[in-house]
Every structure is written in C-alpha cells, then in structure tokens.
Amino acid sequence: MALVKQQPSETVGQEERKRGRDRDDLELQLSDPSPSARRWAVRDLAECPDSSAILVAHLHQEMDSSVREIILTALTQLGDEHAVAGLVECLRSEDVFLRNEAIEAMKMLPDEVAPIMGTLLADSDPDVRIFAVNVLESLRHERVEEWLKEVIEHDPHINVCATAVDLLGEVGTSYSREALEGLNVRFPDEPYISFATSLALKRICSI
C-alpha cells in the first residue's frame, strides 16, 4: 500500500499559504474547515521540531482520510519517539484504514521500530501482536527472522503464530527450521498450522 499518494492538482488558496507558519499558527490551522488547509498545516508542521505530539493528537480527531494520510507520512518522516508511539497507538484503533496505514508507515521506520518490536510482540492483545508481525512483513531489519522465530516458539495464540508462519514462508531460512517443526507439536490438531509450516519448510529446504 503506497503511503505517499500524489494529491489531486487542486488549487490551494493563496491565503492558506500566506498564513503564519510558526508552530502555534500551524496547530491552529489544523482546525481549519478546509482539508486542503489542514494538509498544508501538517506538511509545514512536519518541518517543525517536536511537532509529533501535536500531529498524533490531531490524527485521532481528523475525519478526512487525505489529511490523515499526510499526517501518517509526516510521522514517518519525523520518526521520533512521539511519532513512533503515535503509530503504535494506531494499531489499537478500530479503524481498519488507520491501522493499515500505520502498519505501512511503521514498515518504513526499521531503526525506530526495532527497539519497541519486542514490546509489541509481547502485547497483551493478540491483535496488536498480529499487526506487529504484519509490520515485520517488509521491515528491512536484520532481526526480522529472529523475531518471527521467537513468535512461533513462544506465542500462545494460534493466529499470531499463523501470521508469523505465513511470513516465514517468504523470508525464513534454515535458522527457523526447528522452530517450524516445533510449532506442529505445539498445535497438533490445527490443519492450517500443519499446511502453513509444511509450505514454509518446503520453501526453506529448496533454498
């Protein structure tokens, strides 16, 4: 899913760009009735230091999907502690679109997400753990396979393990072989686990 989409070539009123561009002005502009003005405010806020908390707070109030998309892109660019925490909070959202966009944004922040991946994979909510595995799907980080292996060795929830096995079928190596075989022992009566581990092992053996 592309996070950065080209915006339609709408005419942005000159008055919107003539407004103040310091942080307080821009924060006020986030309440502007025009989505276009709000998008510009977000873009400009992304250039301001320490603006992540403002953007995160606004993300949960913003109803316009195009503005939310720009906020997520801005948080990805900022990539600081508040930005990452805001993205993580989106994983708990009931809003599927917001959740998916946050997952895509987090995939682009391997160095910032890596230190919190262990916490995410140990979250008490299995859905959050599944979304954390989804983040690993294209996270360019050297520990991806290690995290996935830990999931299938220790996570008690079958769907978290199933999501990890799906991914190991794509990125796994012989390093995960024993863990995959062990998963069949942990979930002996689950045909899906048997099917998915068999596929993953077949692929690993063919490497």
């Binding site: 899913m1 599927v96 998916n100 599944i130 769907n159 689950e190 045909p191």
Partner: protein, 123 residues
Amino acid sequence: MKRILIIDDAATVRMYHRSILEGAGYQVDEAVNGIEAMEKSLQEPFDLYIVDINMPKQDGYGFLSELRSRDISQAPALMVSTEGASNDRTRAYAAGANLYLVKPVKPDQLLIHCRLLLGEVHP
C-alpha cells in the same frame, strides 16, 4: 460447478482455502484485497464469497458494503477473521456478511458452512 471467490491478502490462507474447496469440487478464484475482488465481481458472477477483514487498500467491510450497496452481488458471503470480538461480528453482519468464522478454519468447518450458504445442505 459453483464458483467461489477467496479474498485474503495472505497467500498461504488463499492456498489453504483453495486446496480445501477445489478438493470438494468447487471452482475457485482469488483476490488479494477488496479492490481486486470488486473488479472480478464486476466481470463475472460468483456463488459465494469468502472474505478476510484486514486487507490493505480495501478491507473486507468496505468490499462487502460496496458489493451490497451497489447491488453488484447478493451472493452469500462468509467472513473470516483473526478477530473474534463481538463488535467485529456486528460490523461484519452490518456490512453484508451472512456468516462469520474466526481463523484458522478447519477444513470440515469451512466446507459445511460453504455448503450451508450455497444451499446444498440444510441446517
């Protein structure tokens, strides 16, 4: 031969469901998200949809709502998800699902529910 469209972003899940359904004699097609599923639905009719919820670009709720509201198909839809909370079920039925199952679905469970929805067996 009844035609079933599997809509899921996870390739392994699609392969698993396909192997079960084809083994039972159904003709199966696949889509990776709601948008691809909609394109396929506009081209040809399906007798049953098996729909995941969490998918990029367009999720299962969005796909089913559009399918029903635009009257593209009223074929039965079986929604499958990792999420078992009651509000997920409520949203699924509101979007137009006829049945909701929590993953992973066992082969006999999938087949009996598909047959029920296709009117091939009766409760």
